[in-house]
Symmetry: C2
Subunit: 149 residues, 2 copies
Amino acid sequence: MDNWVQRLSNSGCRITASRRAVVGVLQQTEVPLTPHEILELARAVHPRLGLVTVYRTLNLIAAQGLLRRVHRHDGCHAYLPASQGHNHAVICRRCGRAVEFAGGDDIEALVARVEQATSYRIDGHLLQLSGLCRECIRSALPDPSHPKD
Amino acid sequence: MDNWVQRLSNSGCRITASRRAVVGVLQQTEVPLTPHEILELARAVHPRLGLVTVYRTLNLIAAQGLLRRVHRHDGCHAYLPASQGHNHAVICRRCGRAVEFAGGDDIEALVARVEQATSYRIDGHLLQLSGLCRECIRSALPDPSHPKD
DNA sequence: TTGAATGCAAACGATTTGCAAACAC
DNA sequence: GTGTTTGCAAATCGTTTGCATTCAA
């Protein structure tokens, strides 16, 4: 539950109300949040919080490898809790909900093909998928089993 | 040669010295360029050029589908000529040289796997590879045929 | 000639830095 | 108590907008 706070503490950080508030918001979200959004949400629990502290806390958490930064459609940077071993995110274009997925053989196949085709040696990639999550597919589509809806 | 200029002209744009300068720089580059870099290079041929016009011309060119925007390691946005049908870029981490490659079956396999695993319907992706180009691999490595170098 | 394009200055949004006050340890 | 952290104000960076001037057609 508080293992993010634990890790911060173990790495020599002081545990302040501001940090608890930011960490609390980020641990729980399913939707990537911008620093401003994190500020608003975290102020519900710690009203004195400032935007600068959000940025600084984001850096701390990121240094622990707990954070994933994603590019939103509106061009903003937003942040998600990074689950260990899952390296990429799919983001719902409608509700924003994000899920992570692991790299697999298909990515290796892609890299091998591109290395072959370009003579580059590839050692990194930026990959992010987008689409509709199951709930948004449901609510966007008329129900096919009731054609007279 | 001047087919970018042609296309701009055909789509109703006036062909000015500023636009020629920006288009000229972009048509030729192998390395993704930031707006500032484009400005500096284009000023060699048209010194009165302003940064604002670079941005506006980038938008014009992008509207013709001639431009690819990439994310550089330093976080900057940079631009490349987009070759038709090639949808993604590999960028050399050392010299910056970029090459495009086409999507293939491996990307479709990846999308299919992630749709299966997450129940999302996927309809878009952000993909960019990085590594070393052939020349940079050569110059970074000691030559293995002369072990006494 | 005339509307489109330019480029400067200024506005803007995201992020970082300087610094005195507040706080965890 | 002491050194870390905070939060404000201000600086910075990339990008966009207002507007009078310049220019392609």
